[in-house]
Structures are given as C-alpha cells and as structure tokens.
Assembly symmetry: C2
Homo-oligomer: 333 residues x 2
C-alpha cells in the first residue's frame, strides 16, 4: 500500500459514520426544535477537541455553500435551516447534525490516510455513544435513515487525481474495475456531480456485511491498485510524450498566471495539467499543496467569501478568480 503522497494521486481521505438516537424519529420526521437542541448538545458533549458550532439558520447562503465546497457539509445540510455543524478547529473533524441522519461525523485528512481517519472518527463515535442511546440492531447493525447506510453506517472515501487515466480515455475501464471491487464512484462534489479536473471520489458501495476494518482495507487495496495503474500510465505518457506533457503543463501555468478572466471549469482543467506536470517532474514547480488549497479557494462561494462581497455575479467571479489565481501562482515554488 502506498502511504506517502509523493505521487500526488490521493488528494485526501475521509471516513464518516452515520449515527442516530434510539427512539427519536429520523430527521425527515423531526420537526421539534427541542429535539434538535438535544442533538446539538450531544454532539458538543462528545467532542474532546477544540471546535466551533454553526447553525445553518445563522449562516448566509454563500457561507453554507463555501462549507460544501470545502467538503465539510453536504448540499443537503446546506439547504436545511434546522441543521447544524460541529467543526473541529483544524477542520479535520466535522459532525453534521440533523442532516439525513441525526449525526454524520466525518474525519478528513490530506493524502492517503483512511486508517488514521477511521481511528480519529471512531474515537469521537465512542464518545458520542456514551452521551446518547445509539440506534443499533444486533442483526443489522447501526440503523440509518437510508438503507444503503445500515450496518456500519460507514463510508470510507478517497479523492484521487487521475490525469493519466483521464487523458488516455481509460478512466471508464478503471472505474468499472473499482466497481467490481465493491467501490462506488462520484464526482468531487458528491453524488451526481461530474468529475472535474481529473478528480474522482471513490468509496465503499456497501456498508453492511463487512466490518469497519474490512471496509477500510478493501477501499485501501482498490485505491492502491488504481494508484499503481495511474503511475504506470504516467510513466508511459512520460516516455512517449514528454515534450507534449511539458508543453501542456507550462502552457497551463502561463495561462493561469496571466489570465484576467477565468471560469471555474477552465481553471480546474488547467490546474489538472499543471498538477500532472508537477507530479511527473517535467516542470520546475513542486508545490502541489498550494494548488490543492487553491482548488477549494477558487470555487464560487469560497471566492465570494474571499472577495468579501456576496453580490458577485458569475462574470465578476471570473475576474476575482483570475486575480486570486495570479496572486497564488506568483508565489508558487
């Protein structure tokens, strides 16, 4: 298994657990403000880390969307005034309260770190289970609002950067292999979202019939295989088309560091070429972490937050995005 991130394939890892309170209706049927209050208090009590609490009803639409873009809440929670978020100060642990389930606690870390994520979120879950009576069935396991989560209530997912598979049009074949290995594939922004910038989310398709550790191990194994294939394809690209790759990476750098108008789609496409060039060591820049942070910051709502103006339209955002990208790339090493 590949544990370092030197090949820049696994961008981030995430494990989330869905939990519900025994005897309390699932959120869809839960309109009682007192009950929500109870959930919030429980989530806070279980936390042994520094954190902030956000009530969706207190947040501007843009702030909610910015949390979605940073993968800290789901679009569903963003649309739900009775929802709340408990967020650790380092943003590694995020507990969505009153989303589809009473609690959805996730740990997200950069690089290939599913085991670490699982260990961290299991610790929170232990703590939570001492505060609330958890809805658990000895036969089915944890009970959840949607059947696909019953069992472990766990989703272990990695976001992978697969430019070689994408540019050689072999990505669909590899996604099919992953599917046969029990994985499911989504775009960067969850179910139904399209892959952009050669970024794909892979996670376990089933959460029942396997132990938590088995799920972690299965996903890790499949992702490792995917990484090996991507590395092989990258080596082939490098030996056959080094000039073209170098050219594409530097052109991407040239446009990103000079454009005055930059749409989100073009930005993601160019960043993918630049990151591929970095990962394959054909260009002088190395700092992929800066680009991964920029990918988040350049999303519409985060951009609007950075610009401190909630009234930007799409055309104005393209100007602000271009300015931000130029500024960040100027410092790229």
């Amino acid at each position: 298994m590949i544990n370092d991130n030197s090949d820049n394939i696994v961008v981030s890892s995430r494990v989330r657990l869905a939990r519900n309170v025994k005897g309390l209706p699932f959120p869809q049927k839960l309109s009682d403000a007192g009950a929500v209050s109870y959930l919030v208090n429980a989530a806070v009590h279980a936390a042994d880390f520094e954190h902030e609490l956000y009530f969706m009803s207190d947040l501007h639409e843009v702030e909610r969307q910015a949390l979605v873009e940073r993968h800290l809440i789901s679009p569903d929670l963003a649309g739900k005034d009775s929802g709340a978020l408990l967020l650790s100060d380092d943003e590694s642990i995020a507990v969505m309260i009153n989303e589809e389930d009473h609690f959805r606690a996730q740990c997200i870390k950069s690089g290939f770190a599913l085991q670490e994520c699982y260990n961290a979120i299991e610790r929170y879950d232990d703590s939570l289970s001492k505060v609330i009576p958890v809805a658990y069935d000895s036969e089915f396991g944890y009970l959840t609002a949607c059947l696909t989560n019953v069992g472990t209530g766990m989703r272990a997912s990695v976001m992978v950067f697969l430019p070689a598979m994408t540019f050689t049009d072999m990505i669909d074949n590899f996604l099919l292999i992953a599917k046969n290995n029990g994985l499911t594939f989504r775009g960067v922004y969850g179910e139904g979202s399209k892959p952009i910038g050669c970024l794909y989310q892979l996670s376990n398709a089933r959460s029942i019939g396997l132990s938590e550790q088995q799920i972690i191990d299965n996903v890790s194994k499949s992702v490792s295989e995917m990484c090996a294939s991507e590395q092989g394809l990258r080596r082939q690209l490098l030996s056959r088309e080094k000039n073209e790759l170098t050219d594409k990476a530097y052109r991407a750098y040239g446009v990103l560091s000079n454009a005055r108008i930059l749409s989100s789609g073009e930005f993601m496409e160019l960043v993918a070429f630049l990151k591929l060039g970095m990962a394959m060591d054909v260009i002088e820049f190395k700092d992929i972490k800066t680009l991964d942070k920029l990918i988040i910051d350049a999303q519409p709502a985060n951009l609007v937050k950075i610009a401190k103006s909630y009234s930007l339209d799409a055309g104005q955002r393209d100007l602000v995005r271009a300015a931000l990208v130029r500024q960040v790339l100027k410092e790229l090493k």
Copy 2:
C-alpha cells in the same frame, strides 16, 4: 498624415524601383554569364554605401529562404542560381540583380517612412543611371519585364498591423476601400501569401500614369485613412471589451512565455494579441520593436539559422521556436 509609429499600425515602409539595361534581353532570356557579371558590377559601382554582395549560387537553400523571410529578396530570386543580391550593411537598401528585371532596388525602413525610402532609393537610382544605359521610353517610361511595372517601375508599400479590423471582421470592407483608392493588398510574404498575425501589405496597384511623388502621396493618404479607421475601431474595442482584450493579451503572453512547442501559425496569432494589448496600453509590456524583430527571427529559415542546424524538421523547429520566444519574452519590458 501620421508620421510617428506611436499607434503601432505601420510596421514598415518600402519603395522599390525596377530598372533594366537598354539593349540587353530581360533576365528570363538572359543566359550569358558575362551579362550577369556586367549587371553585378554595375550594381556595385552605383553603391555609395557599405555593402555585401551575395550570389544565390553560393548560398544554402536555408540562407536564401532566410533572406526572403527578412523581406530582402523575393522567393523568385531565392530560386534562381544566376541571381545576386547587393545589400547595404544596415540592410535598408537591397538590390536584387537578375531577378525578373535586371535590377530591383528597394529601400525598407521601419515605421511609416515612404518618403524617406523613396528619397534614399532615388539617390541609388540616379547613381545607377550613370553607370548603365537605362531602358526608358519617352512615352511609356521605364521598360520592365512585366507590363504591370512599366512606367515608374515603382512599388511603394507599407506593412500594416490591423488587429482591430481583423478581430471585428471588418478588414475585407477596408481592403475594398483601399482597392478603390488604387491600392493592392498582399499577405506578408508577397503575392498570393495569406495574411497572418493581422499583418497586411498595401501598395500601389499601378506604376504608370502617375509620377513617383504622386504614387508616394496616394499610398500615404490611403494608409493614413486606414490608420485612422483602425484607431477608431481600437478605441471602440477598448471601451466595450477592455477586460476581454486585457485577458487575451495576457493569456497570449502567458502561453508565449511558457510554451515548449510553438508552431509558426500559433506564434503569429498570439503575437498579434500581445501586440494589440501593447498598442492599446492594457498590459504592462511596451516593447513592440522586440516583437517585430521576433516575428522575423521565428520564421522557419531564420530559426534554422539561429539554431545553427540546417537539418531541423518542422517538429524540431517548433521546439526551437518555443525556446527562442521564451528567451526573448523573458527580457520583454
């Protein structure tokens, strides 16, 4: 009339005179080596400036083509082993010997300088007429191999950079106006060549029935009108699409200063955007002269000469061109 080049529309001016020796067959019928020798001696004798003499038969095909790209000889002369070139050290005066006519003497200067070119080449012509008996008819004027040159034997031409007319698709209308004013239009590399990089050559269509000064004045007047229209269109573009123009100019800079593979066509297209951005003062760079020199240096044969390798194929030239362009743009101010 606009005499400075602050608006960067007129790239260069050129006046050439076609002359023949009375009693000697035109070059097409002239196979006698002794006669060619006589022409060469006459051309040299008439020169009161520092110069070099080049016999086509001594030059590699690439060197001939490089002279064509630098607008110092015609493709016809490049293909003719019995031809020669007398070139002043500053390259402003070039006398093609034994091309279509016995002598075709040109003066080329940067910017809008037809009168200066005419004065300089008239001086050489006076000198030449003292060395040879010139083929001249009191009714028709100077006699030339092709009827279109009979009369003054003169062609006064300017190379103009018309990006605003080109990008607004109004260029054809303006070229028609120029035609109605007695001008003819060619691409950058003479008759039949296509316009590239928004560059156009305009010159007098007729060389008979007008005096030399009238031809100079007519071409100057038409070109001045064209410059005024181009300036008007540029102002309109600037007021309506400043962000888009700035974006295009900087993107062109970004690609030119970063690409590793650059075809001649893409290079010319990007340079046009960059020059337009400079001319309209929307980007920080000002040095158009450097780009105009680069346009010549980046042409295939000149590139091959610079790379000092005559065996470069088109693919290799695209790498060498990209490297040259990066190097030059690094120093752009």
